[in-house]
């Protein structure tokens, strides 16, 4: 089967690739671009471990072909921070025990990041509803919700201080 040339902007970097139309975005990110933050969990559009941000939308990258993403801007967990300078969501997940095995965490944080862009002052219910597309089998969600709320509070406090 012939390959298609695509151009993506991933974490601020332009990437030109040749892909088969049937290649799912998650595999292109993981295997061709070595971005192994987004995980393959259920592979059936349920668990959200593969969540990335595409043009301001949280997307399950197991349910999108890479060719569909032609011309888009993609942010994965790797694009949110560096190991020496964690994103506030990552710091809050660490502080509030928002992860145990960590498998769902990149998807959780990528999704929570978009949620806080759209709703900087979420209630607990908003957070629970907003991350309903991400499954965690360890934490029971309590500490994930706490972490997201703590991150929102810290972002808002930093903004107020800046103003």
């Amino acid at each position: 089967m012939s390959k298609t040339a695509i151009k993506l902007n991933v974490n601020g970097k332009t990437e030109e690739l040749l892909v088969e139309p049937r290649e799912l975005l998650i595999y292109v990110l993981r295997e061709k671009l070595n971005l192994t933050g987004p995980h393959v969990g259920c592979e059936t559009s349920h668990c959200g471990a593969c969540t990335v941000e595409i043009d301001g939308k949280s997307v399950k990258s197991c349910t999108m072909f890479a060719v569909q993403a032609e011309g888009t801007e993609i942010t994965t967990i790797e694009g949110l921070s560096t190991p020496d300078n964690l994103h506030v969501l990552q710091r809050m997940f660490r502080e509030h025990h928002g992860l145990q095995c960590g498998y769902c965490t990149p998807g959780m944080i990528t999704r929570a990041h978009r949620l806080l862009q759209e709703n900087p002052n979420p209630t607990e219910e908003d957070v629970r509803f907003g991350i309903a597309g991400n499954l965690c089998r360890c934490t029971g969600y309590q500490n994930i919700v706490k972490s997201v709320l703590a991150a929102a509070a810290e972002i808002n406090a930093a903004q107020e201080a800046a103003e």
Partner: protein, 284 residues
């Protein structure tokens, strides 16, 4: 999971998309948000040789509110529908229903057109569009034609759309009065065990008009004319709601599946329909 190989097309306008459908016949399918089709392709339950992505056809994303006429392009996503303040003002039932579909990630990608065109009995928009008496525009090789949502669904995954047609838009009239979309589902992301869309208008303390449709309780959505007739002219008290609910239940034919046996589904449906009527009336 890797789907079978296919050729990917991304036409810039509807004419080009229709041309591809003509050329490739039943080897081709159009792709909207892909959140029903791509999982089926991954499971190899759908084998498609030519995938025609509609995402570059800009006018399919239009939302227009002209007086009491509402036009929603087929490629409008559930998230765009939820986020549209104009629509929330004139047709708040759309947001209420769309928020109960799937999960946030699916709503960013899943489209209204895909939801109504797929013919999956579990989809929520078909019943809602029947309750609103919406009309679907189908573009085909001989131009556009329109089919009422109430005439569109023939059986599970079987609709009035021909293989060489594309559903491009949905239109309906703003309905005054109260509304409700009630849905019972086992968990986020599941389809309805039972769901109901209700629109009611009031004249003094009586029901002036009503429209009631149900989701996932037959192999098509069910618009129940007799349930509506049972409400009109009543004060929408407990007796009237019971009579209308019984009439609605007489029109459905649920199947046993992993959401429960037929008796359970009828039980759930009765509760959901009654709640939807009561809530719509409370807002009328």
């Amino acid at each position: 999971m890797i789907p079978a190989a296919f050729e990917y097309h991304r036409p810039k306008d509807i004419e080009a998309a229709l041309g591809l459908l003509q050329t490739h016949g039943d080897e081709a399918r159009v792709l909207a948000g892909g959140h029903s089709l791509i999982p089926m392709m991954k499971l190899r339950m759908a084998a498609i040789e030519h995938l025609i992505d509609l995402r570059d056809i800009a006018h399919l994303r239009d939302i227009r509110i002209e007086g009491t006429n509402i036009h929603i392009g087929a490629m409008v996503t559930q998230a765009e529908l939820i986020g549209h303040d104009g629509l929330a003002r004139v047709a708040p039932i759309l947001r209420e229903a769309a928020l109960q579909i799937a999960d946030p990630q699916v709503r960013y990608m899943g489209t209204v057109g895909g939801n109504v065109a797929n013919g999956d009995p579990g989809n929520d928009m078909p019943g809602l569009m029947q309750a609103l008496d919406a009309v679907f525009t189908l573009a085909g090789p001989d131009g556009d034609r329109e089919v009422a949502a109430r005439d569109f669904y023939e059986a599970a995954y079987m609709t009035a759309r021909e293989d060489d047609e594309i559903l491009t838009a949905i239109r309906f009239q703003v309905s005054a009065g109260g509304y409700a979309y009630e849905k019972q589902k086992r968990k986020i992301g599941d389809y309805a065990t039972a769901a109901a869309a209700v629109v009611i208008t009031r004249d003094g303390d009586k029901v002036a008009s009503a429209s009631i449709a149900m989701t996932n309780l037959s192999d098509t959505p069910v618009w129940s004319e007799s349930a509506a007739a049972a409400l009109i002219g009543t004060r929408c008290d407990a007796d009237a709601i019971k009579t209308a609910t019984d009439a609605a239940l007489a029109d459905i034919d649920p199947n046993e599946d992993n959401r429960g046996p037929v008796e359970f589904k009828r039980h759930v449906a009765g509760i959901i329909i009654s709640r939807a009527i009561a809530r719509a009336w409370s807002r009328a």
